[in-house]
Symmetry: C2
Subunit: 389 residues, 2 copies
């Protein structure tokens, strides 16, 4: 653990449970990063509980913190992660500091998670959307969900051409080199487009319904820079030359129920494991296991799809353990979602939420990659024909 990489994380803080910074910072620290932690809100718990205490950090407070950090020469991250920022004024303050950081250090690896909403519902102020659009060109990686891609690109994605169009907008108009969309419900048109070569993970049961799967897609603009980056040579020789991006995909079994903080955890893993200038497997800054991808052509990885594979594997494993734990609770603490009953008795929802907080602490071995191997990693498969569809 000799290398000291500093990562600046700007997202929410909750006292209880694991969303935002509380889902991301512990894993990042376990994986060897010194993390500077800016809290955009200080809440008692996440909004899913229905009843929330605490306050937002105002744009003025954020600016004051950034200013003093800068004066003290403490603002020198090599990586940056931004997540939940509740309003446009605060987001603009963050935008200004990111602009400045990026100008001063062009090598900064910035993962922008445009946390705006899910499943057609905004949970931040609507005027953050244009600010996020301004910020996209600063990002090295973005990790929106399906709905957030639609918001950022003004493109409802209903078929392969509209999905392609949305990705093109992100890559070309907004100049984002790396896009990942995770937790996508496997719509029939997506399944139909998916090549058979992107095989489901080892533990697949053939009889499982397609509704029992979620889908993860990564799209990466890879700059070929010659011998210096041996991990890129496979890509150089592939069919993808002339295509706007290298697309990978993977399916994971859907875990029933709604869990909070999963996206925040996924982003933390993705940023941790992304090593653009290091051959695969990564010489990580940490003592983590970093398995070698299998040699079959569909498993050829870009540095980005490699990081997405590890992020997917670890996030899914922690989610499975969390689900297992939540099933072990007394029945009254795991009553299923029922809007009418939940309204009548708010504690019904609160107890369900509590039982579904990510089991990060109990599963820190998963974070560190203990036992992770080539065989049990959920590899992103290369989607050769993506742009030909």
């Amino acid at each position: 653990m000799g290398i000291r990489e500093r990562l600046l994380s700007i997202q929410s803080h909750v006292v209880f449970g694991y969303v935002g910074g509380r889902a991301a910072v512990f894993p990042l620290e376990c994986l060897g990063y010194d993390v500077d932690v800016v809290n955009t809100v200080n809440y008692s718990n996440h909004a899913g509980y229905g009843n929330v205490g605490g306050t937002k950090t105002s744009a003025k407070e954020l600016e004051n913190i950034f200013k003093i950090l800068e004066e003290n020469e403490l603002l020198a991250p090599t990586r940056l992660l931004t997540g939940y920022i509740p309003d446009a004024e605060s987001l603009s303050a963050v935008n200004r500091i990111v602009q400045k950081l990026k100008e001063e250090r062009p090598g900064l690896i910035y993962l922008l998670d445009p946390v705006m909403g899910d499943a057609g519902k905004l949970y931040v102020a609507a005027d953050v959307v244009p600010v996020y659009k301004q910020m996209l060109p600063l990002a090295t990686i973005i990790a929106p969900n399906w709905y957030e891609v639609e918001l950022l690109t003004d493109t409802p994605m209903t078929d392969m051409p509209s999905l392609q169009k949305a990705l093109l907008i992100l890559h070309k108009k907004y100049q984002v080199p790396n896009v990942v969309i995770s937790s996508i419900p496997l719509k029939p048109w997506l399944l139909a487009g998916l090549p058979s070569s992107i095989s489901p993970p080892n533990d697949v049961d053939d009889h499982e319904d397609r509704a029992d799967w979620l889908f993860c897609l990564s799209s990466s603009i890879v700059t070929i820079s010659g011998d210096a980056t041996p991990s890129h040579t496979h890509i150089n020789g592939s069919k993808s030359i002339g295509c706007p991006s290298i697309v990978h995909a993977a399916r994971v079994p859907l875990i029933p129920g709604y869990f909070s903080g999963v996206g925040d955890l996924f982003s933390a893993f993705l940023l941790s494991h992304f090593q653009p200038t290091v051959p695969i497997p990564l010489n990580s800054t940490s003592a983590v296991q970093t398995p070698q991808p299998p040699s079959e052509p569909t498993h050829v990885q870009t540095p980005f799809s490699y990081a997405a594979s590890l992020a997917l594997t670890k996030t899914h494993a922690i989610l499975s353990k969390t689900h297992e734990y939540s099933l072990s609770l007394p029945e009254e603490e795991r009553l299923p979602s029922d809007d009418e009953l939940d309204i009548k008795n708010p504690m019904r929802k609160v107890r369900r939420m509590r039982g579904r907080e990510l089991a990060l602490i109990q599963n820190q071995d998963i974070i560190r990659g203990v036992g992770l191997s080539t065989a049990n990693t959920r590899w992103m498969g290369k989607w050769e024909s993506f742009w030909e569809n």
Copy 2:
């Protein structure tokens, strides 16, 4: 890692560096605790830099957070840690919630670190002192420094009788069962009182000056409860019967320079490793190594001195690594303290502070106890004759 213990931590947050919650929460999480994190301030960096941004959490904000946590049934810790709380109003809000928690759950293990000042200088508002005095009877453990003991007991400690008097006030008047004072400069009268049996650690160089040592003292009221607590039987048979407490002590080599957050880290380890109802060595909630104390009479441990031994060992090891790292920095980042030069050029101090931030992330193996054994633990030695002096 099956056991889920919840710990509520109420102390400061800084964006950059490791003091308060930033020094305590990561170690607590590594050691298997689910930590609920209440931030009493949200600062850019610790006060030692001279230039600080950010805001305090008001008493009203704290009360709102506690209220909602309670309404959501999320306030159910088995352990409690309170540290830096900047003013009497906020401290009173914390006092009220601690009172309530302690009434509801008498088994709550509460470590109160009365962070008020150091070396004769207060760095919180003076009116917190009486509030801390009110809170002392709620505590299972207190971890004041030398100056804070003097403040809490109104007793300047200048010789053995005044040290005994101060401890008696804490144990008898304020009903605190476990007191630890660490980082005590080894004054001549202390050294003179110390029995030769409390041997210096293995790596002692006989020629080292006494000024090169710090001293740690623990004092514990042990309730003998029979066969159910086998770890206590040694104490039952010892000379200490009739004495007000069992006192242990240890010396550690002084590491030159001032490091921040050391007390906060020590408290986190102390609370993590304190298992009052479990025989030594502890069946910890975590995967940590918990060595068996040597069998010599001076090494007989109470559950509290056992925890203090591990806390001392791990804190000292991390501090040594931090010091080693700070020495590796370019000269302009490690210029020694010099008040006049520091005033002329504030960045001189800032750079020194930055280089001395605890190297927690790089040394997480120490936190987990990797390689920790009976032989390399800095055992607290039993000070048999303490009350006879």
